[in-house]
Symmetry: C2
Subunit: 241 residues, 2 copies
DNA sequence: GATAATAAATGTAAATTATACATTAATTTT
DNA sequence: AAAATTAATGTATAATTTACATTTATTATC
């Protein structure tokens, strides 16, 4: 267990003496993508006040745990997933954001592939996927967190290849377009979209088709992270719009 | 003084019982601009360990204080400035980032006008302006904070009008170009730069010249926040590059 | 008071990128 | 064999970006 190193600070004990410690939590804004829509994984709050209400999943940060590690822990506990895209959104630090103890929370948004997460675990947690356009009211400032996360996603996706994080490793171009249409809330032109994504030279065409959504079938592609790395090293962005 | 509301949580005391409270601090990355260079305001650390070393200015967040309010407080205490551009950078939450107590810090970067701050106050605090390209070693993870802040500034300045925050209310176009050259670390073409900034229609030309840097003198301009607001409401960005 | 010196201000042509838009291709079902 | 369905593709026009050199206003100097 983590132990404070009192000695180091012995000299200026007074500086620290008044108790300004507080709880630090993380809350996960977990996005998925399915049949044309962005989805959000919601949980039923287990502790009073507001027990039973819909909420993001979160946790206190332990004293012997990095803030980012706490977020990764929670994500794994609830979805079974490690090493997925997760990034800090922002700090929610208002004094009265939690009606109980003083507690700040670091919002962390994650993008996951709906074909990869552990459905048993999610069921055990009594969690459910909601369309981001049809969310129930959320506890505390969680509604604001979701709003902020959606805005950030929209922003970031313009220049970073976030769309791929929401699709299976193998995906079709129509699927990719659909993800971006959901993120940007805007219809995109097929021909211009294809031109643009291909122009970056980071997609690898496979010798395989997905026939789940058409008779003709659409070719599957993979995102090539090495080529993407080269792209940004040359000072370019991955633009979609 | 802030008082925990124990009653509300009485039922699940056990959930909170193990002490996971920690210190929450903010650290200010305060940028200025002078004679072609970005400057950073640095302080000499007052508490052990590392007392006397160069450091960002920071503070613990009080229990009855919003996180953002703590940052505003510190900025005002050290520079006398209120209502200047300040934004969250990110959370520094590694377990061992501070060799003393467990303490996470929220980096907050500010852009200030060097003609406006309170020089007496800064002197009292034993602070000094350093060129961002000639920084001394900084304590803890403060060097990383500065690096991150510079990267974020570079990113954000591409689409948000941050350059103006570093100049006096009245400025010349050559000064503005110089700010952006410092932010982007790149020389810009005079004619193309002017074309671009004027194209957004957010600069008001004054009937006044600044003759401090040329015989001919350069016209002064003001940034028109109302027109900028209109610009973004129409879904446009303020692009400079 | 003419000349030199200095930084400010301006325009244009070529290249690149973005936009708008309609048809053909592959496959399965009937 | 025909119909139905989604995937895939190209081109012309408009808009934007880039590269680049000269003139202008003013002060200092001779």
């Amino acid at each position: 267990m983590y132990k404070e190193k009192e000695d180091l600070h012995a000299v200026q004990k007074d500086y620290y003496k008044d108790n300004r410690k507080m709880y630090v939590a993380i809350d996960c804004i977990i996005f998925g993508f399915d049949s044309g829509n962005l989805k959000l994984l919601l949980f039923q709050r287990k502790v009073a006040p507001l027990s039973g209400e819909w909420s993001l999943i979160g946790s206190f940060v332990n004293l012997d745990e990095d803030v980012s590690a706490a977020a990764e822990r929670v994500l794994e506990e609830t979805t079974g997933l490690k090493n997925v895209f997760m990034e800090e959104l922002k700090v929610y630090g208002a004094v009265n954001r939690d009606p109980g103890y003083r507690c700040i929370s670091v919002g962390q948004y994650a993008l996951i592939r709906l074909n990869e997460y552990d459905k048993e675990l999610v069921k055990e947690h009594g969690a459910a996927w909601y369309d981001v356009n049809e969310l129930p009211p959320l506890v505390l400032d969680h509604g604001q967190m979701v709003k902020d996360a959606l805005a950030k996603l929209k922003q970031k996706a313009r220049f970073q290849p976030l769309g791929f994080e929401l699709l299976p490793e193998k995906f079709t171009i129509p699927q990719l377009q659909s993800v971006y249409e959901a993120i940007f809330q805007k219809e995109l032109d097929t021909r211009n979209f294809r031109k643009k994504v291909f122009s970056h030279n980071v997609l690898v065409k496979l010798d395989e088709k997905d026939k789940t959504s058409s008779k003709r079938g659409a070719f599957l592609y993979k995102f090539d992270r090495k080529r993407y790395k080269r792209l940004i090293e040359q000072g370019n962005d991955f633009e979609v719009l």
